[in-house]
Symmetry: C2
């Protein structure tokens, strides 16, 4: 590239939204196209998604699920079979009305999610308790007609996996709902270094058609929350609407209990906003397409490039290691590797070669570490683990700092104004209070956390008796 | 399952089309849904696709390509930018006219292929020869509004990968076109055990918007051909329409040269029709989700299941090994594993355990082989290789038997009537002869093979001077 790709980005504390846009473009994660609200996921962004996808897919398979693929298009009559579902999704689907040059007799929507397709299929293939459980997952694109969009966070089209399962009993479906939420939490915490809070969505915020929705919520650098994965117990709603029945162990006809759960490219937006800084992206080593970038210093000098390539060759079975042997100046290469969030930069020049060492530079702390060449194979993997852990710890510390309690609406507003972040406050359970809190503070209920505390015994909003702690925040 | 899943399937020589439908349903590769012309790819079918995809994705990456993801929806004005392209695809696209409750100002088509989206992006990101080549690929779903559909072979929606590249020179683009055709041929021959013929499509059959199209063609059991992968040299057509220009090494503005190439779920249909038999699927070991199925005999007897599970445990790091410990009768398990095309069945009963051996049964030949337990780790991988090779050899032998030459239209019709298969015949190059041959014989030009022969020196149709050998066949 003749053009300097590492231009100044907006300072995150000056304009966080602009910082985000600058980073996704300058780190070459995405590009815009003439398709409104959609994004092009560029090689660097897609490689991150592939790493996330591979980690999650492995866990989905290990927990006994099979991948399948359902049609993209859903006939309107099929979508309408479950009442709450169609009500929730109708305002945000894209409609196909013509195929080739002909108008269709029935219009088709592009799947916003695939519950109804799975339900129809399950009715066909489930007859006996011996056919249960059915544990299916699909990796797919979905479309939701959003008005305002931002790369990864909210786009007309996004990529995700959606799990859909059928079970003999209510208890089995409940356990599945919990299990898959745990899988999502593990991917966030272990792979993406994003700490999450597990909890249940309120009735108002649950999935259209679900009995209840479990969620993991994470906190961004700017103090706003992001829903990072949801797992729904669908109960028997879809099953009754579609007639998914089976003969149980006593020979009686029963209705199956269902779950569904989804995890999307949105999480890349979370990863950017949790770990990024004023130099650009900061990638957790587990998902970084390049974990170590070798930057030769004074590469025109004899032997430097040879040693650099030899190092890459020696290390590549142990880590994802790249080399920047372009004719750009080292300073530019440093900036670029920082913008791209590469966890470790490995500098090697004539003097290092003489001393049989290299310099490792950590992206997360900026720390420079001289390491003897023969120790790299053990030292780099150790350091990558340390970086992964440090990113998690920092994010957790940030969340703890930005989590406050409120007993009154005054406290609620004050803490939100001062800190942003999560506000823990008691709630009476009435939707009217939820609505009022949103109106007065712009904060929404993120979840009723599994880990409950008793802050007061009255609702933060109406002052009536309250037994539930809710976590509130402004959210993406 | 209480229902017997292994029901009689139609004999392939009685009704090949019905045999095919029976196999895809009874082997549980697909199911129908209420979405016309689309299919549900069930776990067994999708696991096969994942194996094919993983093999191809590895080769695409090894040859230096990056995966990206482009939007699903294309504005009509963008699709219209390249004239031949829109003409070719307009009759078969699905149109989105409404988003949510609003009518769109401009309708959007669901991508039938993504040349225009890549072209628009390339215009944005290519400025200099230093930005070239750009070697991108995407895994995606596409929609083409087909009138008559059949699972895998022709569906409204299908899954594929589409490669899109930009190059400095005509020569570079040509080499890429050849290279990716070779990758497809390798996947077909090495992984799917399907022999292919490489060649060029005629002008009439080439991709809408391409300079020329290379193809690999394979022959099904019933003597009909199937186009198995195509690689297009797009020349500068899209690049000129979209203005994809770069400063070359001399500082002069040049237009890039492009290619595109695609490989689809259709290949699963080919695999079924090349290798299958009257008992059902026959899977090449390279793509079989289960390569070896352990069937315990007299499994109620003490120790049998323990030994069977111990065997599975011992073998699973070396192969994909399953076990059928259900309470079905062994005979049913045999039928089912044959229907599903599992390459090797491993039978183990009390007598085998006493003698410290097992019986291996080959799906491709029916051969039974007694093997000592301690030799399984080496014997099974060897046998899987032998089966893979045997399937390829049998398919090649079948194709050779069904390939004939014709010097006259009488010979052409006679051989097609008697044998079906490929007909090699000389062609003058006129589209009118191609049309006439199709009208008289229903055969289409499959390709102008790279390996040319001189059969006569006159066109099989018009009798005029002809220098090109063309391979003709009735085709899927």
């Amino acid at each position: 590239m003749e053009k300097n790709r590492v231009e100044q980005i907006t300072n995150m504390d000056v304009d966080f939204a602009q910082w985000y846009t600058d980073v996704v473009l300058k780190a070459e994660l995405v590009d815009y196209s003439s398709v409104r609200g959609s994004m092009i996921i560029r090689p660097y962004g897609y490689a991150i998604w592939e790493n996330i996808k591979n980690a999650l897919d492995a866990e989905i398979k290990e927990t006994g699920h099979d991948n399948v693929y359902m049609p993209l298009l859903i006939p309107e009559s099929l979508l309408q079979k479950e009442k709450d579902h169609i009500e929730g999704f109708a305002p945000e689907v894209a409609w196909v009305t013509h195929g080739g040059n002909e108008e269709l007799a029935e219009r088709l929507c592009i799947r916003p999610t695939s519950e109804v397709l799975f339900a129809e299929h399950y009715k066909n293939i489930i007859h006996s308790y011996r056919d249960l459980p059915k544990l299916y997952n699909q990796w797919a694109n979905v479309v939701r007609w959003e008005k305002t969009t931002r790369p990864f966070l909210r786009t007309l089209e996004f990529l995700w996996q959606e799990g859909h399962t059928c079970h003999e009993t209510e208890q089995d479906a409940h356990e599945e709902t919990v299990k898959m939420l745990d899988v999502y939490a593990d991917i966030c915490e272990r792979v993406l270094a994003i700490p999450v809070i597990k909890g249940q969505k309120t009735e108002k915020e649950k999935f259209a058609g679900a009995e209840y929705t479990y969620t993991i919520e994470s906190l961004m650098h700017d103090g706003k929350a992001l829903q990072s994965g949801t797992s729904h117990n669908l109960g028997t709603g879809f099953a009754k609407a579609f007639g998914i029945e089976f003969l149980d162990r006593e020979g009686k006809l029963q209705t199956v209990h269902q779950t569904s759960w989804g995890f999307t490219t949105r999480i890349i937006g979370a990863m950017i906003m949790v770990h990024g800084d004023d130099k650009g992206l900061v990638l957790p080593p587990e998902v970084a397409p390049t974990q170590v970038l070798i930057v030769p210093i004074a590469q025109h000098k004899e032997g430097v490039l040879d040693v650099a390539y030899a190092l890459q060759h020696a290390l590549k079975s142990k880590m994802r290691v790249g080399i920047d042997a372009s004719d750009k100046k080292p300073g530019w290469k440093f900036n670029e590797s920082e913008m791209k969030g590469i966890p470790i930069r490995l500098e090697i020049g004539p003097k290092d070669i003489e001393e049989n060492k290299v310099v490792l530079v950590r992206r997360d702390t900026g720390e420079k570490i001289a390491v003897e060449q023969q120790n790299l194979e053990t030292e780099i993997p150790r350091l990558l683990q340390e970086i992964q852990k440090n990113l998690y710890d920092k994010a957790l510390q940030h969340r703890l700092t930005k989590t406050n309690t409120a007993a009154t609406m005054e406290e609620f507003k004050d803490t939100l104004l001062a800190e942003g972040g999560f506000v823990k406050a008691m709630w009476c359970g009435k939707e009217s209070c939820e609505d009022q809190i949103k109106e007065e503070t712009q904060a929404t209920s993120r979840c009723i956390p599994f880990d409950q505390e008793l802050i007061t015994d009255t609702c933060v909003c109406c002052g009536e008796k309250a037994e539930q702690l809710v976590i509130w925040a402004k959210a993406y």
